[in-house]
Symmetry: C2
Subunit: 171 residues, 2 copies
């Protein structure tokens, strides 16, 4: 895991290879693949996003948007370049196929977590819209880092995000 985090942080999601991660961890390529199946799954297991998501989703439905907003902002404010949303945005430019695979893996992990708590038949559409929204906020505040969204204090941002996430997830 430490080797994976290191290689993803140094080379970006799209350029990192399982071969290099296996080499640094002193294990075989085959062992990594048997455990994680794909580079996307290894990446999501290595970065904090996925574990955070499961913890934030658990709990009462009414508090869900606020928990997701707080967890996203807290993680991003302290994120290194290995955060899944930052990696996704960078990959979207550098390597579309890598970005598509990562987005699909993030979506599938998220849909599984949200299905456990969200009512209604459109969970996959809502989760995809939520992902797009958080990706856009990532570009504006954390990648370009310019303008009112980039300038506001984290608590204020979390308040805006909670309102929008409420509409996306519960409306």
């Amino acid at each position: 895991m430490a080797a994976a985090r290191q290689v993803f942080a140094e080379q970006g999601f799209d350029k990192a290879t399982i071969r290099e991660i296996a080499r640094r961890a002193d294990v075989t390529h085959g062992l990594v693949m048997r455990h994680f199946e794909s580079k996307e799954r290894l990446f999501l297991a290595a970065v904090p996003g996925t574990r955070d998501l499961a913890a934030s989703v658990a709990g009462d439905l009414d508090g869900l948007p606020g928990r997701i907003a707080d967890s996203f902002v807290r993680r991003m404010e302290s994120a290194d370049s290995a955060d899944p949303f930052v990696a996704l945005v960078r990959a979207a430019a550098a390597d579309q196929e890598a970005a598509k695979a990562l987005l699909a893996a993030m979506r599938s992990e998220s849909v599984a977590a949200y299905r456990a708590v969200l009512p209604g038949p459109q969970v996959d559409e809502r989760v995809d819209l939520l992902g797009a929204f958080l990706m856009g906020v990532t570009v504006s505040r954390y990648v370009l880092g310019d303008g009112p969204l980039a300038a506001m204090p984290p608590e204020r941002l979390a308040g805006y995000l909670a309102g929008v996430l409420r509409t996306i997830l519960l409306a």
Copy 2:
């Protein structure tokens, strides 16, 4: 204008130069700069987004989110690569300084249009959040083009967007 559209479409916002646009239009670099002041302003004048925005903003407040959503989806469904949101996403990857300048120009044009109709003191923050949201939808549906958002019919997408834009602009 035709020369500008052509050069932006061929080379992307970040690589296009005013010098090349002036050369194709058979005018001087200085004349273009006197009229448009910057590459960002020339770009926004050359692509359809800005004129659409002014037309969509005008009208009753309650119908505003729906008009903006419909106009965004209609424009993107028929967009060539010169659409400002697609250009912004591509530039965000290729050339951060170009992307920042373009985002700032789009934000300033949008804030001016929305200030005319939106109540409340946080118009610039709401417009920036709206821009981030539409940028994220652009990446998911129109740049990566994969998943539930990419697969849904335009009318369904416009319905989701209208709900979120209502929260961002009027909540």
